[in-house]
Symmetry: C2
Subunit: 149 residues, 2 copies
């Protein structure tokens, strides 16, 4: 149990989100990603802050067996692949995804700006029991399951 | 257990966040607030989307006995009261608050824009077991504990 009463980090204004850097591990870090649960003492949920340039996206599918997620898009235009569907997203789209759904995303090549979003995840347990070595994530390489665009 | 695989709602672009309306109940609804867990089938966490005009803020204190919260500010300038401290916040401030901390917030009277933020909350249980009739929230009226500004 954490002893902090509150704790602050700074992700910068939306205009600067393409400049930050971080991930779940040094190996998974890249420009335009911050994993706030690596910076703040979350116990029960996790939050990532994301920016992707036009045409750029994730290069693997993943799903979660225990975590539900919210993708809250704030700026730009993009697409999410959800199992066999492709859904357009843009600033204002709030997309809840349940357990077991395979997902990928990209910023559309024609997007006027980078695609910027927050992803929140939680399950019915402490986050530490659902991530890292105890991860509930299932990853599928694009060589096994082609991306939908 | 929900059967939806994914579900979408639209909160509009950041520029429009002052125009939406909603709350935990009709009585608690006001302009500049959307409770996404009333619109999407969240099981384990909840998310509110908020906009307050310069000088406007909450008029009561509250704390949570079981939920932790993240306040992620996206635009504008404001202040949060956290027990006996007052912390400045602005677009980019990510503020994690632990259980038991009394909190209030306002958009600064001098803020160049409305204060806009997302609040995420979760505990170690289903959200339905921590809200509504089972709420872990403790509210204190400003007549009992004066606001810090």
């Amino acid at each position: 149990m954490t002893m902090a009463k509150y704790q602050i980090t700074d992700v910068g204004s939306l205009a600067k989100w393409g400049d930050f850097y971080g991930g779940f591990s040094p190996e998974s870090s890249y420009l335009g990603r911050r994993v706030l649960d690596k910076e703040l003492p979350f116990e029960f949920f996790g939050v990532t802050v994301n920016s992707r340039e036009p045409g750029d996206g994730v290069d693997f599918w993943h799903s979660h067996s225990k975590l539900e997620e919210l993708y809250l898009f704030l700026e730009g235009e993009g697409e999410m692949g959800l199992d066999d569907e492709v859904v357009p997203v843009k600033g204002g789209t709030a997309l809840w995804v349940g357990q077991g759904v395979m997902r990928v995303w990209r910023c559309s090549p024609s997007s006027p700006t980078a695609l910027k979003w927050i992803c929140v995840r939680a399950g019915g347990d402490r986050l530490a029991n659902l991530s890292g070595e105890n991860s509930d994530a299932i990853k599928v390489d694009a060589s096994e399951r082609p991306l939908p665009w």
